[in-house]
């Protein structure tokens, strides 16, 4: 009798396996975009607009052409002759590649130069003379809808104003009736500011068009290489089978590397024209002022409440600022993303949401920054509203949440906005968090400190969020259904290769996908190699964002492995000379039910697939799965923060941060905890210092890391993580839920609620993020709400 395999030892499900990708990264041997060097490669630089809104009167490139080493200078006019001055966006709008008629945001691409060396290309950009005629600038929805406002998108037919769309969801009448019966109506208005995902690596591409084969290869910083291939086929009118997109190692994405950017398109056209490889590497300012922003939404909400704390209804009116082009990366049916996932963890009978989206003279926004399509805004507003409502009722904020939670035995639960949540133990998570933070002790300390003039505060954020789009019935991007895929090849010696349609950017796919296969087939994880990011070899998939990799591509890995196991069972029956029905499976091994000592390993089955298959069986051991999830996954999280605010300066310090995440089955607990800590830090960053805004002229304030502050190891607080509560996803093959962005989504409200709690005696209802010391000081000193909406005040 053989000993059963120890799943943790072979690196299967639940093993905190050390990451295989680390082996190259710790040696400085990663292969990031800028590390790609091809023979004969040229370098491209982009000239950007210094103005936010201006008509282009003339562009003179003659001095740039004179500089030795310059091969090509491209302008919008030149792009237009090839029908490439404009490109479609992911939200059925158009976006300028290089400006022709006018520039519509500061940093917009106006021209580009291709030269022997990037220094020369930069010199040549500075030698391009552009004459602008400045136009009035719009930097918020209020200005956009004002009477007589200039029309930003005068390039579009039938666009008489700056309104992009209106959208609503929910039961307006039922909500109205519920409000009529309310004992208390609580109201909160706030601006969730623009935020930039700002991965440390900027965007870039190396386009390589080969005239001899007509094949276009593009190395590109993209989280979704297959979508890019489709987009390039459509934009450049090239045959899809002649396009190969390679996404090499990515130095962080966070949603910033989902869209198609003008730089990619320009490098492709330049390579086609010059028949040489062309590399474009964005600089940091270019990245911060021109690529995918997130958020920038004005939320005005009301909550109808019964005196005993029961929520009767919620009403949300919102306005969103999308910048100059509507290029949100989101499922096409949902114009303002999944903002209507707000309040999903609470049992609320009625809700209604309406939104109006506007063009402004700002870079196009609406990428899902560590977020599933506006879920961050939804959960932030939800938890800020919960705190405000609890205060209005005079109730304890933890208790108010508890009595409104969807109960454990109420699943599946239909939210008032139509989502179906399927699992969770919300109150149990809250209890773990309250216990860990020492909730009641802290409340006593807070009172005692107040007597001595010190301001302590505690903030809670509890939420369930929808992760892992689709299903394909409801979720598509440009009509392409949001499924994902995996392909597994088991070689004859029992080693295996996995490819998926996802593309990791630090999430550790090379480690965790192998663990799923190991769990399903009993092949040691070290015997499995994972490859992603090359459209010529990977199966079609929708890429990695919105925490969808494990829910969708990870599920596809499990399903493909199960198909392989089914074939291996037939091979085992053949080897064991019994019927398939008499064969049993244990990890890594099939055996005869009546004689458990007689068995064959998965490796022996693999060898048989190539050397000894039964008559009539197709040789080989390889399969694939295209997985269309039946629903989103619904992880739950409870984040609790304590702070101390310095009344003299408005500075606040985090004194404790407890995170309780129920994300279902954890494939690799070490990696899951890494994801949570990273998300918490981005939450802290948004709440505390990550400040990017615009002045009245549309100048981007926060266009470099000296102004756009990212937290360092010094400011970043420590975290206490909890995983005691685990509710498997009922529909995912291995019970996993998404987790990568929970902390970034649910975290900001915990920090802000803590500060607001600390200054609650002032009666101040809201300070917009980031809670900079001067804003907190202003609220404390003048006892008034502090808005962070642009244009930024001149004294800031």
């Amino acid at each position: 009798m053989t000993q059963a395999l120890d799943e943790i030892k072979i690196g299967g499900l639940g093993a905190s396996r050390k990451r295989v990708e680390d082996n190259r990264f710790i040696r400085g041997k990663g292969n990031y975009l800028d590390d790609v060097v091809l023979p004969g490669m040229l370098h491209m630089e982009i000239l950007r607009s210094p103005l936010a809104h201006a008509r282009i009167k003339s562009i003179d490139t003659s001095r740039a052409w004179q500089i030795p080493g310059v091969h090509l200078v491209m302008t919008g006019e030149m792009m237009a002759t090839r029908n490439l001055a404009w490109m479609p966006t992911l939200s059925y709008d158009t976006q300028a590649v290089l400006a022709t008629d006018k520039v519509r945001f500061q940093g917009q691409e106006v021209a580009c130069v291709i030269a022997d060396d990037p220094y020369i290309a930069k010199d040549a950009c500075e030698a391009i003379d552009v004459e602008y005629e400045a136009l009035p600038v719009i930097v918020n929805p209020g200005q956009a809808r004002a009477e007589g406002a200039p029309v930003i998108r005068d390039d579009k037919e039938n666009q008489a104003d700056n309104l992009i769309f209106t959208w609503e969801v929910g039961d307006a009448e039922g909500t109205e009736r519920a409000f009529a019966q309310a004992d208390v109506v609580s109201r909160l208005r706030l601006h969730y500011p623009r935020s930039h995902p700002s991965p440390i690596e900027c965007c870039g591409s190396v386009a390589d068009f080969n005239r001899a084969t007509d094949k276009l290869t593009v190395y590109m910083t993209t989280q979704a290489p297959h979508i890019i291939r489709a987009a390039v086929a459509l934009v450049a009118e090239l045959p899809e089978h002649m396009i190969r997109i390679v996404s090499p190692d990515i130095g962080g994405g966070f949603g910033n590397k989902v869209p198609v950017y003008p730089g990619y398109v320009c490098s492709i056209l330049a390579s086609i024209l010059l028949e040489r490889p062309v590399k474009w590497i964005e600089d940091k300012s270019g990245n911060l002022i021109s690529t995918g922003f997130a958020r920038d939404i004005y939320l005005d909400g009301e909550m109808a409440l019964r005196r005993d704390g029961k929520i009767l209804a919620v009403r949300l009116r919102t306005e969103s600022d999308h910048g100059a082009f509507f290029s949100d990366a989101q499922p096409s049916k949902f114009k303002i993303g999944l903002l209507h996932s707000a309040f999903a963890c609470y049992d609320i009978p009625y809700a209604h949401l309406s939104n109006r989206g506007y063009y402004t003279n700002k870079a196009p926004g609406g990428v899902a920054y560590r977020c599933s399509f506006r879920v961050t805004e939804a959960m932030f507003f939800q938890e800020r509203m919960m705190q405000a409502a609890a205060a209005d009722l005079g109730m304890d904020q933890a208790e108010f949440r508890r009595i409104n939670f969807v109960r454990d035995d109420d699943f599946p639960h239909r939210t008032p906005f139509g989502f179906l949540t399927d699992s969770g133990q919300y109150a149990a998570c809250l209890d773990v968090g309250l216990q860990a933070v020492g909730y009641h002790d802290f409340l006593r300390q807070k009172e005692a400190a107040k007597a001595r003039g010190r301001l302590l505060g505690i903030g809670i954020s509890t939420m369930t969020e929808p992760l892992g789009a689709g299903n394909s019935r409801e979720y598509d991007i440009l009509g392409i259904k949001m499924f994902d895929s995996a392909e597994i090849r088991v070689h004859m010696t029992g080693k295996a290769m996995v490819r998926t349609g996802a593309r990791g950017q630090g999430q550790g796919h090379e480690t965790t996908w192998a663990q799923i296969v190991s769990h399903e087939l009993g092949i040691p994880a070290d015997d499995i190699v994972v490859e992603e990011g090359d459209t010529d070899t990977a199966p079609f998939g929708m890429g990695t964002y919105a925490s969808r990799s494990t829910p969708v591509a990870g599920a596809a890995v499990a399903m493909a492995a199960r198909k392989i196991r089914a074939k291996a069972r037939r091979l085992a029956a053949h080897l064991l000379e019994v019927s398939e029905e008499d064969v049993e499976w244990e990890l890594g091994r099939f055996y005869v039910r009546s004689a458990p000592g007689r068995g064959v390993t998965i490796q022996e089955c693999a060898m048989a697939a190539y050397s000894n298959m039964p008559d009539g069986m197709e040789p080989g051991l390889q399969n694939q799965s295209f997985y269309d999830p039946p629903n989103l996954t619904w992880p739950f999280a409870c984040y609790i923060v304590t702070v101390e605010v310095d009344p003299a300066s408005g500075v606040w310090d985090v004194t404790n941060m407890v995170a309780v995440d129920d994300c279902g089955v954890r494939i690799n607990p070490m990696i899951v905890e890494g994801q949570i800590m990273g998300g918490l830090t981005e939450a802290y960053a948004m709440a505390n210092m990550q400040f990017i805004t615009f002045d009245a002229e549309g100048n981007c304030v926060g266009s470099n890391y000296m102004d756009y502050l990212l937290p360092t190891a010094w400011e970043t607080p420590g975290y206490e993580l909890h995983s005691e509560v685990m509710t498997p996803c009922p529909h995912h093959p291995i019970g996993a839920k998404g987790v990568g962005e929970c902390a970034a989504v649910g975290g900001p409200a915990a920090f802000v609620n803590a500060v607001m709690d600390a200054i609650s005696d002032t009666g101040v209802r809201n300070i917009d993020m980031p809670l900079l010391p001067d804003r907190v000081w202003e609220a404390l000193t003048y006892r008034r709400d502090v808005s962070g909406a642009p244009p930024v005040r001149s004294d800031e």
Binding site: I26, Y32, T655, L710, T712, Y719, E796
Partner: protein, 244 residues
């Protein structure tokens, strides 16, 4: 060994674009003596990456903030995007490629893998070199020492807690750490910014002086806030040139 920077190789020997004379410099990279002819304006980071093919030194921000391009110059940390290649003349450069020997990883490299101190890996080389400079001068650092020493290096993925653990793991492996200094990974943020001075400096969004709080090696404002004295911040800008 003579290395001609490949970007100017078409321009003929001795002269760069615009007829700018090239400068010949001699320096050592990871222990190997290196001669290069470079344009005077060439950044050290670009010489390392393009001229010498040492692509482990990453370019993140071009403005001395992110620290992805951190290398050691004569043992002290320098952001190589803000040092001209000609300034390396006569100095010893260490890059991430110089950390491991042929047969053995540096304990910092092991530590980053063991403690999950990296995710996308882009900031990792700079982090490890900043940490090496710390451990070279302080083999027995506290968590606070580590956090301060790494505060010129940005990471967007990890939240730093595991990076700190990685460095402390390496310190222990190097035999320098006494018992009880093992990183516990707990919620030890309380008291980390003892008087809130450093963090508040970093939180003012657009004041000119505020940026110094984010790059402690960058300016006078950080002096005195260094837990282990001003020596470390001074030590991070060996030639004093080019720091923002």
């Amino acid at each position: 060994m003579t290395t001609l920077h490949d970007d100017i190789s078409d321009a003929g020997p001795g002269v760069g674009p615009g007829d700018v004379p090239l400068r010949r410099i001699t320096f050592s990279v990871n222990g190997a003596r290196t001669v290069a002819e470079v344009e005077p304006r060439l950044l050290l980071a670009h010489l390392l990456r393009r001229g010498l093919g040492l692509t482990g030194t990453h370019m993140g921000c071009d403005t001395t903030n992110c620290g992805a391009c951190t290398v050691l110059v004569d043992g002290a940390t320098v952001k190589s995007c803000t040092m001209l290649a000609v300034q390396a003349d006569g100095h010893e450069i260490t890059t991430v490629e110089g950390l491991a020997t042929a047969s053995e990883l540096h304990p910092l490299q092991e530590g980053f893998k063991e403690a999950h101190g990296l995710q996308c890996g882009f900031c990792t080389p700079g982090m490890m070199l900043a940490a090496k400079a710390l451990l070279d001068r302080n083999p027995d650092p506290t968590e606070e020492d580590v956090r301060w020493a790494l505060s010129g290096n940005l990471c967007r993925c990890t939240g730093y807690q595991n990076i700190v653990k990685s460095v402390l793991w390496a310190a222990e492996k190097l035999g320098a750490s006494s018992a009880g200094k093992t990183p516990d990974g707990g919620a030890s943020s309380a008291g980390k910014t003892p008087d809130g001075g450093a963090s508040s400096a970093g939180q003012t969004p657009d004041g000119g002086a505020s940026s110094a709080g984010q790059t402690p090696d960058g300016g006078a404002s950080s002096a005195g806030q260094t837990p282990d004295g001003g020596a470390s911040s001074a030590g991070q800008t060996p030639d004093g040139g080019g720091e923002a």
